[in-house]
Amino acid sequence: MKVKYKYIGIPIPSLGRETKEVALEANATVNDLLILLERDINGQHKDIFKTANFLVNNSRASLDTPLSKGDMIWIFTVLGGG
């Protein structure tokens, strides 16, 4: 199934901030999307995702949130404390 995602936060050049589309297995979760993205960024910034926050279709989500075809996932990394 195809879902869309967008990354906003601590700059990761390969992710950009444009909306991108990606194919995932059926019954995939937010965590499965992250695993895919971590491959794309060669693990260089993997730790950033440890503290990320997520929205799926504008609602709060977690790593375990199941995804459906056509979902829009936002991935945020917040610097915090400034």
């Binding site: 906003i8 950033i48 926050n53 504008n58 936002w74 915090g80």
Partner: protein, 618 residues
């Protein structure tokens, strides 16, 4: 005496003109470290219960810490301490730049000022030469002009200055001093305290070297920090964009307040606006970056705005707190207005957080028909109106018209005008900063019950939930006490050591202890650090207890904790159980939740709190 300290405290009575120096006792340094640790201990001794924060008995302290002026990375902070004219309780607020290290190089770990001068004065400190000088010619000047004037007058081009602007002279409760032209211990009304003493500025030149116990170890710790930063995208982001690099993510994720805390970022403010007011976008005005003393990050930047409605030859990049307070909180997407408001706040010496939040309160009241256009001097304060926001900020800075009332903050204005109380978003009367407890629930406990209420730079589980090093389940409220206490203590030590909290991009959870050991020569392992952090926290708390505060006197606006909850967006249906968070914390501290009193055994175990024990238990 321990290494790493200047070894002296300076005391100045502006009523009598008396200036005296006292040795910093090793006992005080060991047990309260520096910053607001030493500050709380001394103000507890010097200030009588019930002293008017704007009266002669009010003591104003400026303190450095062991890391300051030692080449320890991130050690450029200083702390201002006093009783707050906003909350009526303990207040500390810290600032970066170069003023703190300069004070320490002049020979002083701390400076305490009380009394009231007969006419405007400034304090001139040049190593051992300390003078109270006439400042009549500086009264009315903005904070950067004062700095320039004093450099010329003293013929000291390297002079460091912290000064109030017109707002502090007016004793407005939003006012603060500004040091190095752009850095501010902004929160809690310190500018009003300086203004009440007719103290326009403190000018410092220091030339001494601070000796450290173990320079090799200090260099090794610094190397470790730099090495860790090499692989840190967070460090890259802070160094390039400053804290404002996180504005868009915070606005859209729910971290930032939106529309006076009643809106939803992703729908009410939107992605385009969130990006527009972030540093990544506004940095088209950037001419250079700058760093505080011994900071390897350099999160500051200078802007030159040569277009739009408010061209400014040179000003400072708004930090995240400012961009959010004047941006998403007001639904404003006009970056030139945000930069202009930041500039006004710096020149007139006012806190950007409380100013933005006070305007947000007025804006909601105006848009709900509670405040009329006439009451706002004809300003059309519709959501997002940049012209109106700048005009009102200027009125607040000048203290003119409706700005005279609003310059004292939203809680003061609601009381004065007798309306709009339900739209306040405050903790014990001070406006909340730009991190939402519905996003990081632990902040509710910190905002409400830290002895200095309403601060995002104080410790607790909220700091972890905002974006710490490990993922945490944020919305579980049981059993938070132990971790909350541990993280609170850790942050106390970072703060009193004069370290910047953004040092975390290269520091571990124990680097502050390693710094203190290398600098001072004393053993300062995790257990000693933990105990010392809690002792300092308790000392600040004891100041409030002596003023008569009980836990029930510390308030937090319902809206900030989701009472009622938002209906949509990332924070939908979140209601923070702040009472449970607080009870967990009090239990773990060994404090009574009804009286606020620490148990006698807890105080004895922490040690060096005999004065507090005497007051509480006789």
């Amino acid at each position: 005496m321990l290494k790493g300290y200047a070894g002296k405290l300076l005391f100045v009575n502006l009523s009598t003109g008396e200036i005296k120096r006292e040795d910093l006792s090793e006992e005080l340094a060991r047990n309260f470290i520096g910053g607001y640790g030493i500050g709380a201990k001394i103000l507890y001794e010097m200030m009588p219960k019930g002293a008017d924060p704007l009266g002669p008995e009010s003591v104003l302290g400026f303190l450095t810490g062991p890391a300051s002026a030692t080449k320890a990375l991130f050690g450029g902070r200083y702390t201002m301490v006093h009783k707050s004219p906003v909350t009526g309780g303990w207040n500390d607020s810290n600032s970066g730049g170069y003023f703190g290290p300069e004070l320490k190089r002049a020979g002083y770990d701390g400076l305490f000022i009380w009394g009231i001068a007969e006419k405007p004065v400034y304090l001139y400190i040049n190593d051992e030469n300390v003078e109270i000088r006439d400042a009549s010619h500086l009264w009315g000047m903005d904070t950067t002009k004062v700095w320039d004037a004093l450099k010329k007058e003293t013929e000291e081009p390297k002079l460091r200055v912290t000064a109030i602007g017109k707002s502090g002279e007016n004793m407005a409760l939003l006012s603060c001093p500004i040091n190095d032209g752009h850095r501010a211990p902004g929160r809690g009304g310190g500018g009003a305290v300086m203004g009440s003493k007719k103290l326009k500025a403190i000018a410092v030149r220091g030339t001494r070297e601070i000796q450290v116990a173990n320079p090799k170890r200090l260099a090794e710790i610094n190397r470790n920090i730099r090495e860790k930063m090499k692989n840190s995208p967070s460090a890259d982001s802070f160094g390039t964009y400053g804290t404002g690099g996180g504005t868009a993510a915070s606005a859209l994720s729910g971290d930032s307040p939106v529309k006076n805390w009643a809106g939803v970022g992703i729908t009410d403010y939107g992605e385009e606006n969130a990006h527009k007011v972030s540093s990544q976008s506004m940095d088209r005005y950037k001419t250079r970056k700058y760093a505080c003393s011994y900071c390897p990050l350099g999160c500051g930047a200078v802007y030159s705005v040569d277009d739009g409605r408010w061209p400014i030859e040179e000003t400072d990049r708004p930090e995240y707190e400012t961009a959010s307070a004047f941006g998403s909180t007001l639904l404003c997407n006009e970056e030139d207005a945000i930069i202009k408001c930041n500039d006004i706040c710096n020149l007139y010496g006012i806190d950007t957080i409380s100013t933005g939040m006070t305007i947000a309160w007025a804006m909601e009241c105006y848009n709900k028909g509670i405040l009329s256009k006439d009451e706002l001097d004809g300003i059309d304060l519709t959501w997002g109106n940049g012209d109106a926001i700048v005009e009102l900020t200027q009125k607040i800075a000048d203290g003119e018209g409706c700005g005279k009332v609003l310059s004292n903050g939203s809680a003061y204005a609601a009381k004065k005008w007798g309306k709009g109380e339900e739209y306040l978003v405050t903790a014990s009367g001070i406006e909340l900063p730009m991190h939402d407890p519905r996003f990081a629930p632990g902040l509710a406990r910190t905002y409400q019950y830290d002895p200095t209420p309403g601060r995002h730079v104080k410790g607790g589980v909220g700091s972890l939930q905002m974006g710490g090093s490990e993922p945490v389940d944020k919305y579980i409220y049981e059993d938070t006490g132990e971790l909350d206490v541990k993280l609170t203590s850790t942050r106390e030590i970072v703060n009193v050591a004069s370290l910047c909290i953004f040092g975390r991009v290269g520091m571990s959870s124990t680097t502050q202890n390693e710094f203190i050991e290398a600098i001072t020569g004393m053993e300062f392992g995790p257990e000693e650090s933990f105990k010392t952090g809690l002792r300092i926290f308790t000392m600040r708390h004891a100041f409030n207890l002596r003023e008569g505060f009980k836990p029930s006197d510390f308030t937090l606006s319902n809206r900030s904790v989701g009472k009622p909850p938002l209906e949509s967006g990332p924070l939908a249906e979140v209601t923070v159980d702040n009472e449970l968070l607080a009870r967990n914390f009090f239990d773990s501290m060994g404090w009574d939740f009804e009286t606020g009193n620490p148990k006698l055994g807890v105080l004895k175990d922490l040690g060096h709190l005999e004065d507090v024990i005497e007051d509480l238990y006789g």
